[in-house]
């Protein structure tokens, strides 16, 4: 009894965290899947999904059921264990970063002083999953998609890290909560506009979305690394992509948009999450917006942009930040 | 007796990592297999540093810094080895180390 008494609060906390993580991952995929198709439709002067439910709000649920019912096809020449492992490897790590994101002052799984490192470390596993999935499908399109994904992710991780480091230098901590708290008068988007811009571009590239969606370029590679995947395996990749979008947008919110700060609401320690989610979904809207605006870049353009513009600019920005922090 | 709070446990794990790396080094007949094995050896060294840092060292930052350096060197080494492998593959059409016999690439 005593044992139960001692571990019960912590146990409840872990269970609540896990449930909330699952709710965020699946709910976000539903909301973003619907919003993406609806926004894409309206940008193209068409209404988007309209049939299932009022203005098609139930479309994604139907799609999910359909994907669950579909057969999971394994190509004959594929490397079966790795082929089955890749979607799980892509999907499983997205839960960990959600634990350290401060949704509001008190709504946070765990406040660890290396929160940023946890997010970056577990985000990098996704690349491995894409690579394994692309290789094990034994299909040239998948392999090309995986290759591109790796080159792109490795290249764009550098400016992303450096632009985040500029903020870390100003706040002197890796803890996401303290970084969010450090921008109570001015958001860092005003202090660090260059870092913010670089982060936004790198974020689009890291989540493999248009205009940097070369790993899954439909017109060239059919569907890139998940060409051969069907049914649940495919939907796990999609869930992971949307969850990754949520995570990178949350990081942008915490680092540049003041976390959960905003107009005070009652019980602000908890209700700040409303502002946090508003900011996150505004950024997600921006991601969808640019996806349906810009054409896909060519691969050499993508690499040139990273190595010739993003990295030098982020380094100069870091240098200026360091000097300013030292002077002030 | 908690096994996770004992210096010898970590030392033995590090030794096993070293042995795994050594075995792979001796047995694998491809350059990449040898590179993979060398990563095990480096990791064994890193784990050793961390173990001594935790249980013996007076300054707990030293071991962590050494392990960080090992990681940095491992990354640099992997980059160099991979580019050498690509160059070798281009030249000989194989990555069998026994076929790489010319002194000049």
């Amino acid at each position: 009894m005593e044992i139960l008494h001692s571990i019960l609060p912590e146990l409840i906390r872990i269970i609540v965290c896990a449930v909330c993580g699952a709710v965020i991952v699946f709910g976000n995929a539903l909301v973003m899947g619907y919003a993406e198709r609806k926004l894409a439709g309206h940008i193209m002067l068409r209404p988007g999904p309209m049939e299932v439910g009022f203005h098609g709000v139930l479309q994604l649920i139907i799609d999910g059921l359909k994907l669950m019912g579909k057969q999971l096809v394994v190509p004959q020449q594929a490397n079966k264990p790795l082929y089955m492992l890749a979607p799980i490897l892509s999907f499983a790590p997205v839960f960990v970063p959600l634990l350290v994101i401060p949704f509001s002052d008190k709504l946070q799984g765990f406040d660890i002083n290396i929160g940023l490192l946890i997010i970056l470390a577990f985000a990098s596993i996704n690349v491995l999953a894409i690579l394994v999935g692309g290789w094990s499908s034994n299909n040239k399109y998948s392999l090309f998609g995986a290759f591109r994904s790796v080159a792109q992710n490795v290249a764009y991780e550098i400016p992303m890290l450096i632009s985040l480091l500029a903020v870390v230098f100003m706040t002197n901590t890796f803890s996401l909560k303290e970084i969010a708290a450090a921008q109570s008068p001015v958001w860092f988007v005003i202090v660090q506009p260059v870092a913010f811009l670089i982060y936004i571009v790198a974020m689009v590239a890291e989540t493999n979305r248009a205009p940097f969606d070369l790993p899954e370029a439909e017109s060239e590679l059919t569907a890139g690394f998940h060409t051969e995947y069907s049914g649940m395996a495919f939907s796990l990749f999609m869930l992971a992509e949307y969850a990754n979008m949520f995570i990178v947008c949350s990081v942008a919110t915490v680092f540049f948009l003041g976390g959960s700060s905003g107009i005070p609401l009652p019980y602000f320690e908890y209700s700040g999450a409303v502002w946090f989610l508003v900011k996150v979904y505004a950024l997600m809207f921006f991601l969808v917006w640019i996806r349906w605006t810009y054409p896909r870049t060519r691969f050499d353009q993508l690499m040139n942009f990273c190595w010739k513009y993003m990295i030098p600019f982020s380094l100069v920005n870091l240098l200026i930040t360091v000097v300013m922090v030292k002077l002030i | 007796m908690m096994i996770s709070a004992n210096l010898n446990t970590y030392l033995i794990i590090a030794v096993i990592l070293l042995i795994i790396g050594l075995y792979g080094m001796l047995q694998h007949r491809s350059l990449i297999g040898m590179l993979i094995s060398s990563e095990f050896i480096l990791n064994g060294a890193g784990l050793n540093f961390m173990a001594f840092n935790r249980f013996v060292a007076p300054n707990p930052a030293v071991g962590q810094i050494y392990t960080l350096f090992i990681m940095g060197i491992a990354a640099a080494e992997a980059a160099i080895v991979i580019s050498i492998i690509i160059a070798v593959y281009r030249k000989y059409g194989s990555e069998d180390p026994e076929r790489v016999q010319d002194m000049k690439l």
């Binding site: 926004l39 309206h42 940008i43 002067l45 068409r46 640019i290 605006t293 810009y294 513009y309 | -």
Partner: protein, 146 residues
Amino acid sequence: MKSYFSELITGGWSLILGLKVTIKAMFSPIVTVQYPREKIEITPNYRGHIDLVKDAETGAHKCISCGSCMRECPSGCIVVEGEKREGVKGKVLTVFTLDFTKCSLCGACVEVCPTKALDYSNEYELAGYARSDFHYDILKRLEERE
């Protein structure tokens, strides 16, 4: 070096312009039609399969069963049959069918008709489950159009 920065600025500006275009498009009304729910008026110039013209005065067709269209049709997809009846001048049309699976919509039958009894219909929903769905009985269609 100068082009490095000017390219960045002009490129960035063009990106912003692109965003402006799409956001405008997003808030402008949609132009597509929810097809099975709503349909748009088809233009009278649309040339579907042939139909018999209904005479405005008598309410009947003007076909004299001469068979010109049947002879003229390059695909041979029209069948016209007429018969003599007591008390009626000329032939009475009994069968007028069109095998739409062979029709090439050339319009020769409409051109050749001496009484202008044929015209193009506005029918555009032309999907069917079997080949026999496209064997149209034009005479029956005329009666159903009352």
